[in-house]
Symmetry: C2
Subunit: 321 residues, 2 copies
């Protein structure tokens, strides 16, 4: 049994959903809760929803949030850890500026809050507790609303000057599709859930047919979630197939390029789409990656994140020492 | 003054030329020689030429090769350091298989020979003695016959599982130009000296005009060396301008992608073309790199290799402890 004072919280703040967990000293999840990321009321609305979902996870674990040793948060965008400030989180509603998320949550939860980059905490979780255990070098690729990445070298996350791991912005087609980052031809421009949805909308406006948006309404979703894409593929939806195929090829090229550069022992595919499609489409991504390797004789291992949907929140909880 | 027993040799074996140096304990070059890489007689012919050019460098320094503490060699292709074996050196004549270069040279030179990857020794030289001094993280890009790279992280060369640094095989256009490595759309397919020459020949066969090959003959060169490209640019040769522009854009995209992934303090541009065009075209490559950065607010420093043409040979000499 865990001592109560060693119980920590972890929150994964994503463009689609907020996932909270409460976890004990043995890294066993003892309570969890999730909800969609609210689109109204901007950063403060998101912070309020995070406090609520953390409360729900704590209730499930039978603790008060104030009794937690601390709460770690994995957030998108640029993070200033000292002040718990999150800036330019383009995949979150009205979050182009800066917001002091850490202090806002501390006030609501009654315990200290540590904020870090969502993908780096996800990679750290896989490195310490998941598919990267006992691996010396890891390339983590988080395929979700955007495409993030993280590099573990000699057992430690490599941060560079603070911005390392942005594999989503590997150029796979010079002068190609416009990316949410503003540049052209990035891997994310073809493989991110958000730009895939934008491309689907453009194609519908041009008169192309798809069941994607009908399925979205039927399942009462505000956007094309990974689940909606999966339904559409099950229905043999042509447009969904084309856009997923485009994403797979872009992922293969971008991951292959990164492997040529850093030559890691293992590639770990995570993120909302990565976890959902890891078993079915992972082998196709791996095959496209291998096509682009300089040394075809010794590809790295390729595996899906083991901690699944909870990996980000578990990784966030590791921020609390 | 250096003690004679501390004098080392270094040889940079390139697709175009062989450069040898003799260097003292203070890393001062005290003798040097170079010659074009011979096209006849395969690997043994290259080894014989290397022994000759090492002899010439030693003569210039007033020493016998047998009196050298040792000789380091930077070679292209796959290296097996223990046996001094060089394999699959596609930019060298008839070197698709394996050849025990180290033992062959040891016999001719009468001292021990250590063989390593040409680009990694070039990056190491810049890291220890050149533009990378006092830098914690470096991305080296060697623009020559091919495009090689090397990564220094926390002050040490990162080798991955043995093949890290192959930035030339970053995909900049999925399904694009065929690369000497066999894949498609690699940065090297657009920027390597060899594929640029092949593209120029294809365009001439299609009836396009250029002074490139006329200049090559006038200067009695067997191929389009970096010097020939420079002459052609001076003459305002349209095809040369187009192909160099294509190379610059590919380099910008590939380097930008690598910076997004590893976020180094400095990018160092070296290699035959990199050193020759560093001052004139380096700023253009840097500008294209910056276009592709995810974080436009803090690009890495961008600089040209300081050790110039001798960097590879100096780096090779550092292999001798």
């Amino acid at each position: 049994m865990s001592k109560k004072s060693e119980v920590r919280g972890g929150i994964d703040l994503g463009g689609t959903k907020i996932q909270a967990i409460v976890i004990d000293a043995h890294n066993t999840v003892i309570g969890e809760s999730r909800r969609p990321t609210p689109e109204d009321n901007g950063p403060q609305g998101v912070a309020d929803a995070m406090a609520e979902v953390l409360n729900a996870a704590a209730s499930a674990a039978g603790v008060e949030t104030g009794a937690l040793k601390g709460v770690g948060v994995g957030a998108p965008g640029a993070i200033e850890p000292a002040g718990g400030i999150v800036s330019h989180a383009k995949n979150l509603p009205d979050w182009d500026g800066s917001f002091a998320l850490g202090p806002a949550l501390e006030k609501a939860a009654g315990t200290k809050v540590i904020v870090a980059n969502d993908v780096s905490v996800g990679v750290r979780a896989e490195a310490e507790l998941g598919a990267g255990r006992e691996r010396d070098s890891i390339l983590g690729v988080f395929w979700g609303t955007g495409v993030g990445g993280g590099i573990v070298l000699k057992g430690e996350l490599w941060h560079g000057r603070g911005s390392a791991g942005e594999i989503g912005h590997t150029v796979v087609r010079r002068g190609g599709a416009r990316c949410p980052c503003g540049n052209r031809g990035c891997m994310e421009a073809y493989a991110g859930r958000a730009p895939m949805e934008a491309e689907a909308r453009r194609r519908v406006e041009k008169g192309e047919k798809t069941h994607l948006f009908k399925l979205m309404k039927e399942h009462d979703r505000p956007r094309l979630t990974s689940g909606i894409w999966e339904h559409a593929l099950h229905h043999g939806d042509k447009m969904a197939e084309e856009l997923i195929d485009r994403a797979i090829k872009a992922l293969g090229a971008g991951i292959g390029s990164a492997v040529n550069l850093i030559d890691p022992e293992v590639v770990i595919l995570g993120g909302g789409l990565g976890v959902r499609f890891g078993k079915t489409l992972g082998p196709e991504i791996e095959a496209h990656m291998e096509k682009h390797l300089f040394d075809h004789t010794r590809p790295p291992d390729f595996t899906v994140a083991e901690l699944g949907d909870l990996g980000g929140a578990i990784g966030a909880s590791l921020l609390v020492k």
